[in-house]
Amino acid sequence: MPGPEDRELVNGSWKRRTAAGPRRRPPWLGAAAGSAALLALTGCDFGAPPGASTQGRTIADLYHVLWYFAIPVGVIVYGLILWSIFRYRKRRDDDGALPKQTRYAFGLEVTYTVIPILMVVAIFGFTYRAEQKVDRVVPNPAVVVDVDGFQWQWRFTYEGKGVTVVGTPGNVPTLVLPAGQTAQIVLRSEDVVHAFYVSAFLFQRQAIPGVVNRFDLTIPSPGSWPGVCSQYCGLDHTSMDFIVRAVPPATFQAWLSEQQSSQSATGGTSS
């Protein structure tokens, strides 16, 4: 049956007749939806810890920035793929003619080469700045701790204090540090490659035999966080855990004195 003049039958339903063919969703709708989603997500952590150390906070911020690039890219590319699948599928009433056999579009190809280059240059800038901050070691930290990894425990030696803490099977060692001050870790391995990783600090560094790695941990507020060995190191890699505990500086000094006296009395280390 003939329909109203401004409508046509498409795939069994009536659509408004426009100069460009059946009505399509307005192109700005996708961009608006994507932007709304993006704004909603700015309050989101994207699954990573917020960063219990200042270095970790820098990394978490960079992580969020990368998501702000990833989301529009993902939305646009997914949108284009899904749009193609739905809009350009062969209709049941297809006449069998070949579609226009477009092989290239030079301007478009240059555009989608140049814009990603600009984006990665920007991402590189953010990355470089963050890395300078995270990797910086200060010349006069509040405390320096030698961290030695070995199969399959950690040993923490407080330089110049005569205090050593070592883990034993079933007894996870705790690295006590002063909150609000900068601690410097000097990381070594006694045998194979290990890695010192604290997820809450979004940070890890490998302990490689023959290499001395140095990094700072600045923990603003007291707390206690688990750490693991993140470089596979053999049979009991799974249980090479440790804990980092930040306490107020006065408590830290008290703990150090207590450890010094108990360790010089027993002549050994504590766990």
């Binding site: 699954g47 990573a48 810890p49 970790g56 820098t58 992580y63 990368l66 990833a70 993902g74 590319v77 997914y78 284009l80 793929i81 699948i85 350009y88 599928r89 003619a97 070949l98 579609p99 056999q101 477009t102 092989r103 290239y104 478009l108 190809e109 989608y112 080469t113 990603p116 280059i117 990665v120 991402i123 590189f124 990355t127 470089y128 963050a130 890395e131 045998d191 194979v192 490659v193 990783y197 997820s199 809450a200 940070f203 890890q204 560094r205 490998q206 490689i208 035999p209 023959g210 290499v211 790695n213 688990p226 693991v228 060995c229 993140s230 596979y232 049979l235 009991d236 890699h237 799974t238």
Partner: protein, 555 residues
């Protein structure tokens, strides 16, 4: 157009059946291709079984389904299998079968060396699996095999040595096959098949071959030095005697990063051959795609130490910058694929479904890869399940899906009959849903700090839910793989004839019979573009190419 071209013959010579000796002594590229495909399928099932054991062990906290010794061997051999014995060799196998066909050649340039390559691969793989029977069991240093852990002091036992020797055999076979591929593509193309008219699977295999040639020798060197350290008093990797543990990482990753592109470029090529067929349009931006592949290959040689960001001894900004750059040509390819589908007439037979799944999965893998390329981000994510999820998205969700696309697409050509469409579609959906259900939660686990290669975890770590979900997803994925095996069996029983060109595809392999005769072609169409069979079949259709098959665009 020449008037002396004749039509393809109606009858075709019957392929002869091979006995055991026939298979052992074949030098025909198609049969060698079958040897690769059959062997890699068996290794895929073996590696998948190891993955099943891993996922059971990690499904709940504190499980002791596998002991630590067993677990460490299992994840080592799972990784080794999937990297060295499945993904890369399937590329070589499909290349063996189809590169000569796609360029109009009767065989590969060096047929006997071709056979040597596949037998070295099979021998190497069997050596690695035989190591489970040795006194200390299989190697357990991770597929990355870092020194000093892989040295004799920390990994005594023949299993570790058998791993080294197996990999050396496989490497040699790969190098020989790469030489063969390059010589074949350079010197054995049919008249009129200029380099810029080759199908993109062939282009990508050529580029992959160059990558193999420059990447595998450093691996062989790294392992040879390791073997000398282990048994001949060497100290290349022992710092106490003047060696360097970091040297191993440099040598390994100089191989290791191009290796992942060796495991992905062939399958980009397959997807680029399949999408145009089911969009009824030529590939969009042929020249751009070729240049992008070259850029990816070149850049991939200069980014190896992004696997070493947390060592503290490499220049992180250099490697971050180079790694970010690789995102650009990969993005170009995505726009090539989308541009091909754009304003096309898409149908969704099983090969195309797998391609769509590839696009959706690989995007996630690619975006997370760009995140990992940022060194400070890698400080958080390195060696966590975030990396595990990323790599499985690109290699599983990406390469494996593209492999299935290639198998469904080319199965009719190789056998003469079709794979069942209905089972194929069910298999795709189970695999797609199962795959995402398995690996998306692992991103979450990694962001919550779960490291790799741990045999168990405590309930208080917060990693339980993602792991349980991943194991459930794995069983869904398993159904998909079973459906593929079922499809093979059902299709072989039914033998629904496919004809020479069931998909109306355009590249030269579709100009011959299904399966092809021994030396591939008794007739060839004129070659004037990258899709000569399409041009020939649509020569009376003005819409096909704008005239007499003259190629538009590109050099």
């Amino acid at each position: 157009m020449s008037t002396t071209v004749t039509a393809p013959p109606a009858e075709h010579p019957k392929a002869k059946r091979l006995g055991l000796i026939g298979w052992l002594t074949t030098t025909n590229h198609k049969q060698i291709g079958w040897l690769y495909l059959g062997t890699t399928f068996v290794f895929f099932l073996a590696g998948g079984l190891l993955a099943l054991l891993i996922r059971i062990q990690l499904s709940r906290p504190d499980m002791s389904f596998l002991s630590r010794q067993e677990y460490n061997q299992i994840f080592t051999i799972h990784g080794t299998t999937m990297v060295f014995l499945v993904i890369a060799p399937i590329g070589l196998g499909l290349a063996n079968y189809f590169v000569p066909l796609q360029i109009g050649a009767p065989d590969m340039a060096f047929p006997r060396m071709n056979a040597l390559g596949v037998w070295l691969f099979i021998g190497g793989g069997l050596t690695i699996y035989a190591s489970f029977l040795s006194s200390h069991g299989a190697a357990s240093a991770g597929w990355t095999f870092y020194a000093p852990l892989s040295d004799s002091q920390f990994s005594p036992g023949a299993g570790t040595d058998m791993w080294i020797m197996g990999i050396l055999c496989i490497s040699t076979g790969s190098i020989l096959t790469a030489v063969n591929l390059m010589a074949t593509v350079f010197m054995m193309r049919a008249p009129g098949m200029t380099m810029w008219r080759m199908p993109l699977f062939t282009w990508n295999m050529l580029i992959t071959a160059l990558l193999i040639l420059v990447a595998f020798p450093p691996l062989a060197g790294a392992l040879a030095l390791l073997f000398i350290d282990r048994h001949f008093g060497g100290h290349f990797y022992t710092p106490a005697f003047g060696g360097s543990a970091v040297l191993y990482q440099h040598l390994f990753w100089f191989f290791g990063h191009p290796e992942v592109y060796i495991m992905v470029l062939p399958f980009f090529g397959i997807v680029t051959d399949v999408i145009p067929v089911f969009s009824r349009k030529p590939i969009f931006g042929y020249a751009g795609f070729v240049l992008a592949s070259m850029a990816i290959a070149g850049l991939s040689m200069a980014v190896w130490a992004h696997h070493m960001f947390t060592t503290g001894v490499v220049d992180n900004p250099f490697f971050s910058g180079m790694s970010f750059l690789i995102a650009v040509p990969t993005g170009i390819k995505f726009f090539n694929w989308i541009g091909t589908m754009w304003r096309g007439k898409l149908t969704f037979e099983t090969p195309m479904l797998w391609c769509i799944g590839f696009l959706l999965n690989f995007l996630i893998g690619g975006i997370t890869g760009v995140m990992l390329a940022s060194a400070p981000i890698d400080y958080n994510m390195n060696n966590t399940y975030f990396v595990v999820a990323h790599m499985h998205y690109v290699l599983g969700g990406g390469s494996l899906f593209a492999i299935f696309a290639g198998i469904y697409y080319w199965f009719p050509k190789m056998t003469g009959f079709r794979l069942n469409e209905r089972i194929g579609k069910w298999g795709f959906w189970f695999t797609f849903v199962g795959f995402n259900l398995t690996f998306w939660p692992l991103f979450v686990a990694g962001l919550r700090g779960m490291p790799r290669r741990i045999q168990s975890y405590s309930p208080s770590a917060g990693w339980t839910d993602p792991n349980t979900l991943a194991t459930i997803g794995f069983f869904v994925l398993l159904v998909g793989v079973i459906l593929f095996a079922v499809n093979l069996i059902v299709s072989i029983r039914t033998r629904e004839p496919a004809g020479d060109n069931p998909w109306d595809a355009g590249t030269l392999e579709w100009a011959t019979t299904s399966p092809p005769p021994e030396h591939n072609f008794t007739w060839l169409p004129p070659i004037r573009s990258e899709r000569p069979v399409f041009d020939w079949n649509h020569r009376n259709d003005a819409a096909a190419a704008g005239g007499d098959g003259a190629r538009e665009g590109g050099p």
